[in-house]
Structure formats: C-alpha cells, structure tokens
Symmetry: C2
Subunit: 401 residues, 2 copies
C-alpha cells in the first residue's frame, strides 16, 4: 500500500514497462487528486495550470472524480468576481474513503481512521504491556479496536479503503509477515492470517511509517532525510527523493545494530558493541541505574529535567554513541538532514549536545542538520493511516473500483 | 548523463510531471532500443512481444530508429523458412554514436570509446603519478588522449555522443565540479572549464561508475548491491533497484570514513578511527612495513602470494576492519550482496576470510553474499563510457537530434 521505492519499475530486459492510454488516464487522475489535496480548494483552471494539462482534459478527469465521490464541488470560487464565468472550487471529499492505521507497540495498541483531507475521524487506544504475550491474543485485541474504529467511521458515512499496521520489528518486504520483533519476542507472525480479512493489508516497520509521517506531515522536512526513532530498539528509515529505501528484504534501517565500539558488550543480534548496547532504552536505564518501569521514556525525561546527574550522563553517553553511528550513516547516505523521532524526540534536549558534537567533529567539512520531529510518538500510527490515504490519491481509479 | 536516481521525478506539488504523447513516443523508442540491445538480433514481431506494443506501433518506431542510424536491418531472420513473410532481424548499429569514457586515476589517465553494442572501439592510456600535480596540466594531458580516441572513433565512422569522466573524489551532484579529491590534493576543480567543449560532459566518482559497470556488465549481478572499491581511498556505491543512490549532495558512499574504532588514529577527514585508517592502501602498506612504491596493490598482492606474513597479517586486519564497517552498511542498507571491485578485487583472497568472518559473526541470521568483481580496475572507465551509451539507449530521439 505504501509506494514502492521506484514507481517506474523496470522490466527484466532493463526497459521500462510500456505506456498505455489507460495507464496515462489513471496517472492523470492521480495528478488531479494530488494537486487538489495539496493546494485545494482549486478551480479546474488552476488544476490545469498546476499539472500542465489542458482545461478540457482536466474537466473530464474532474467529472470522473466527482462521480466517484473523491472530489467535491464547493460552488463558485470567487463570489465577488463579476467578470467572466466564475470557476467552481474543487476540494477533496471528507466523506469518501478513509485509511485505517494501527500500531502494535511494546506497551500499547492503537488504531485511527484518517480521511482524504488528512483529518483523524476516529481513534481507539489500549494501554498495556505486550512483551512476552503470544501474537494471537494481542492481534485479537487489535481486531476489536479495528472493528470499533471502522464502525465509527462507517456511521460517519466513511468507507475504510485499507489497513496499514506499524510494528516494532522486521517485516519481509511486500508481505504481511513480521519476521522478527525482538522486543515482543515474536517470530514469523503472519498478520494476514491472524486478523479478520476484508481490507487490503500492509504491515511495516514502525520506523518506516514514522519516516513517511515525517515526509508527509512534517513541517518543512526535505525529501531526503534519515529518520531515527526508538522504542526499546533503535530504528532508522532513509527517505530518498521522497521515497523509502527499504532494502532487498525490507530490512534496511537497522541503525541499532551498527557497531559503535566493535569489542563492546555482546548484543542479542549476535554482534558486539552495537548502538543499542549504548543508546537503547534498556541500556540507558541501566547506565542511569534506574529500574525499568511502565513509562521508561517518561521516567528518563522527568529525572533529566530534575537534574539527576546519573540520568543526564547516561543520556549524554547515549547521544555520543548515536553520533558515532550516525557519522557512519551520514558518510554512507549523505542525507540532507537527520530527524529524531519517536521516543527520542522527548529526550532530545539531553541527547543532542553530545550527538551533534560527535557528528560535527567526525564529519568536518560536511553539514548535516539534526532536527527533532514534531510528531513524537504519534508518527508511526499517523504514517500508517496516511499510507492508505496516499494509495487512494496515487490511484483514485483503483480506489473507486 | 547517468540516469538520476528516480526517472519519474515528482513536481514540487508532489504530483508526477504530466504525460504527453510526445513523451510516450520517446519512451517507446527507448524501449525498442533497450530490447534490441539486450536481446538482439530480434525481428519486429519479437520486439513487439517483448515490450508489449502492437507490431504496427513497433514498425513505426523501428523505421524512425533505422533512419537515425541507431538500428540496422540484417536481412531475413530465418532464411530457411519458406512459409509466410520472413521477419527482418534488427540489430543495434555498430557505426552510430559512441560513448567516450575517461578516468583520472591517482597513477594513470585512460580514455576509451564504446559503441552502442558495448564494444570498445578505441582506447588510450598514460601511466604516471598524478599526486600533487595541479589540475591544469593533468587535464591538458587528458584532453590530448580524448582527442586521440575521438579522432580514431571518427575515422571508423563513429560519432562521439558524450563524455563521462571517473575521478577519485567527491563530485557535486549534477555538476562537473570535483569538490574534493584528497589523493590528488584537488579542491573545487571545474572540469567543464578546463577541458575542450563540444560534447555533453558528466563527471562522477570512480566508485559510482565502477558500480554502474558492475550493474551493466557484471555476470549475474543483482539490481541491489553495495559496490566497494579502492584506489588509495575506499569508496562505495549503493545500487538500489538498478539505480545509484547518490545522496543529497552526491557524496553518498563514503565507506572509507565510517568509524571502525572510534578512538583510533586521527584521519585527515577530521574523524578518528575511520575505515581508511585500517584498510586504505597507505595504512596497509604501513602495517605491512612496506614502502609505498609505484604499483602498491601489485606489491601487496605479490608479497602476499609469496607468503610474506607481515603482508598477510596486514591484509587480514584490513579485511576485519572492512567487515566491521560493512556490518554497519549492511544493517543500514540491506543490500542483496556486497561486491568488491577496483584494487580490492586483486587483494580479495587475503581480505575475504577475515572480512566475511566479521560480517557473518556480527549479522547473525542475515545473509549477505560477498562477491568479487570480474571487471577489476577497468570498472570505472567502462562504467563511464557505458553511461554515455545508456543515455543514448534511454533517449534515442534526443541522441539522434
């Protein structure tokens, strides 16, 4: 459901797949939807100017989108203007398809419905530790939340168009199977088989959805950035030219297992001295001599705010390890910026000085800005729901079918 | 001249640029050229089947390509076949445009001309140390080699269609300016201003062209791999879905400056303990207690073959450092394989055991094959020339104009 890293897939001969009139029509319908979604309300003439097609061609496309219930006509655009025929303003419909997003977190389950205008129309959350629980009861609870949100959306006249689920683990590319979620202790869990069917399903890593949320909803975020997020593990996602780099198997972005001190402590992944051994939640709590409680990040932020020197030092050291691992990532990937999201965004004030110090010192002459996400821990859930919405905008003809 | 990382560029509104009939025709001309280049000789009917267009549409496109001198008609495809009208086999022309590739190496300059069939039609090399020399005399010498190769190509009835130059340094994306070439000691050198004009010019990092050569010419190389190469420095290039990941500024792939031992020796880049401090040529020569001579890699390979324990240990340690840095890269990028190219391919027998050992140990549960390039140090030069050839195949209408 999320866009593949390259839309213009190449055939096995190396040549792009053939263009057809039908394909061109579908792509042009998408251009109209994206233009109105990003800049609406817009008149037909304004849409035509934006996407470089004739007014006549745009009118035909718009009529089809109105018939499918994806666009609405708001009436004359400039009521005060008496000269010429006023253009009728078009807006994306608030009563058509909605994207259902969900997150299976280590300590919560959450679901929301987002309409084509990007508004959250329904929402449900259940707090509770999921570590060590079997997948079946967890996904049964998630199923109940999904029904609740879908029913609420339907009562508001909306139609769920797809379901996307963010998980803290590795998902095999193009499947609904979580290969490994170390912090839930899950392996090879087929979400498609365990959840009620009916909707197109996408399952993806929470760092990926967090990065997409940043791309689509973040304020002034460039189209090339490395998004770093953390719950218990540390994940990253690289956005290049507005697209996720997923890796061959879908496992790219494992920043948490980049070696920082190669002879450091053993890591469950089999390596030694991985970033997670220095900057993962458990490692930071251990270094700060705190017991892991329910709200670990909240506890760290609170103590750091109160000036607890152990906590501040632990976060400073974690920031330095992050800076070393990110030095490697910046050298390899040359992103425009690094965005700290998820739990890390709450701890940024104490991580950033040492993180930026290491990065600056070790990459002299280069400049890679480090910023903090404004979406915080909401990112992955919103990214999931919006990925369904984007799929509708990307192929309105398919969505209306 | 090399393809941008994503052909389907997005407009600023987030919507793809509009399709036009004219654009469709140009893309279909390219599909015909790619099909014949990859699988020819082919009849018109076979081309039509391969690219999914009608026979009539393909005939029109083929006629245009024959008129432009890019395709040749070889005569009846199956002379023995008496039933029905025999298809006339089409082949890519060996007398049309050629791509001129060049390499500015630390110890050599080389130029070659490659025709649309991929054959090297002319070649010139000048051995000699370029370290510490000013850009002007070096590029003047390169200009002489370029004239020599172009003249030879023209005498054979060929037409140079473009020039691509591989350099051991960072090139600002989309420009002809070498921002930094530490091993030549060059900074901000504008190749366009220092070379005779006349041909479209591309300048790119040697690791990038090496990776493209591997992609286009390598035997059974997948479309997703990390190509690692070395001259004096260590560079890498990531190919994703058959396209180079260049980074925001064009500086991606700086594997040589990934921290391996963060408190290790200072590196000229400003960092500490970078991979180049352990596995760069100078570091290995130092560790092996050898004086840097003219053919450093040759010297190392020779001594290692003779069983010199100092050299073997130095290469083993370099392999281990490479393995640690590549662990980070594999975790971040999830490539299908790692390909050792350039000078590294000659030293592979002594680097590989420790390199693969570290990688396997530190990425338990994942599998990333390490292979050795068959192109060796020819990769960057061939990649450069072929990038011009690919640009002709990608837009035959533009090339014929």
């Amino acid at each position: 459901m999320t866009a593949p890293p390259h839309d213009a897939r190449q055939g096995t001969s190396g040549a792009p797949l053939p263009d057809t009139q039908q394909g061109m029509r579908r792509r042009n319908l998408s251009r109209v939807m994206h233009a109105v979604a990003a800049h609406g309300p817009l008149s037909r003439a304004a849409v035509a100017t934006r996407i470089g097609l004739t007014r006549a061609a745009v009118s035909t496309l718009v009529d089809e989108l109105i018939r499918s219930g994806l666009l609405n006509e708001l009436g004359p655009e400039r009521p005060g203007n008496k000269v010429g025929r006023p253009g009728s303003a078009l807006a994306v419909s608030g009563s058509g398809p909605v994207g259902i997003g969900a997150e299976v977190g280590v300590d919560h389950l959450s679901v929301c419905a987002v309409d084509l205008r990007g508004e959250v129309r329904a929402r449900a959350v259940r707090q509770g530790d999921n570590r060590g629980r079997a997948p079946e009861p967890v996904l049964e609870e998630l199923g109940a939340l999904l029904r609740q949100v879908s029913d609420e959306a339907r009562r508001a006249g909306l139609r769920p168009a797809g379901l996307a689920i963010a998980v803290p683990g590795l998902v095999a590319r193009g499947t609904g199977t979580v290969v490994r979620a170390p912090n839930l202790d899950w392996q090879d869990v087929d979400f498609g088989a365990l959840l009620p069917g009916g909707l197109p399903l996408t399952v993806d890593n929470e760092a990926n959805f967090g990065a997409l949320a940043e791309l689509w909803l973040g304020d002034g975020v460039p189209h090339d950035f490395l998004h770093v997020s953390a719950e218990i593990g540390i994940g990253a996602a690289l956005v290049v030219d507005g697209r996720l780099l997923r890796g061959t198997r879908g496992f790219a972005g494992e920043l948490g297992h980049v070696p920082v001190w190669p002879d450091g402590p053993a890591c469950p992944c089999g390596g030694r001295g991985c970033l997670e051994q220095y900057a993962g939640e458990e490692a930071v709590l251990r270094a700060a001599r705190l017991d892991p409680g329910a709200d670990r990040v909240g506890l760290l932020a609170e103590r750091a705010e109160q000036g607890d020197e152990d906590v501040r030092r632990a976060l400073r050291d974690a920031g330095a390890a992050l800076g070393i691992a990110l030095t490697g990532a910046v050298n390899l990937l040359d992103p425009r910026s690094v965005v700290l999201g998820g739990a890390l965004s709450r701890l940024a004030p104490w991580l950033l000085p040492s993180l930026e110090g290491e990065l600056r010192r070790r990459t002299a002459g280069t400049t890679c800005a480090v910023t903090v996400s404004g979406l915080g821990s909401e990112g992955p859930l919103l990214g999931a729901a919006h990925s369904v919405v984007r799929a509708v905008l990307d192929d309105p003809a398919g969505a209306a079918a």
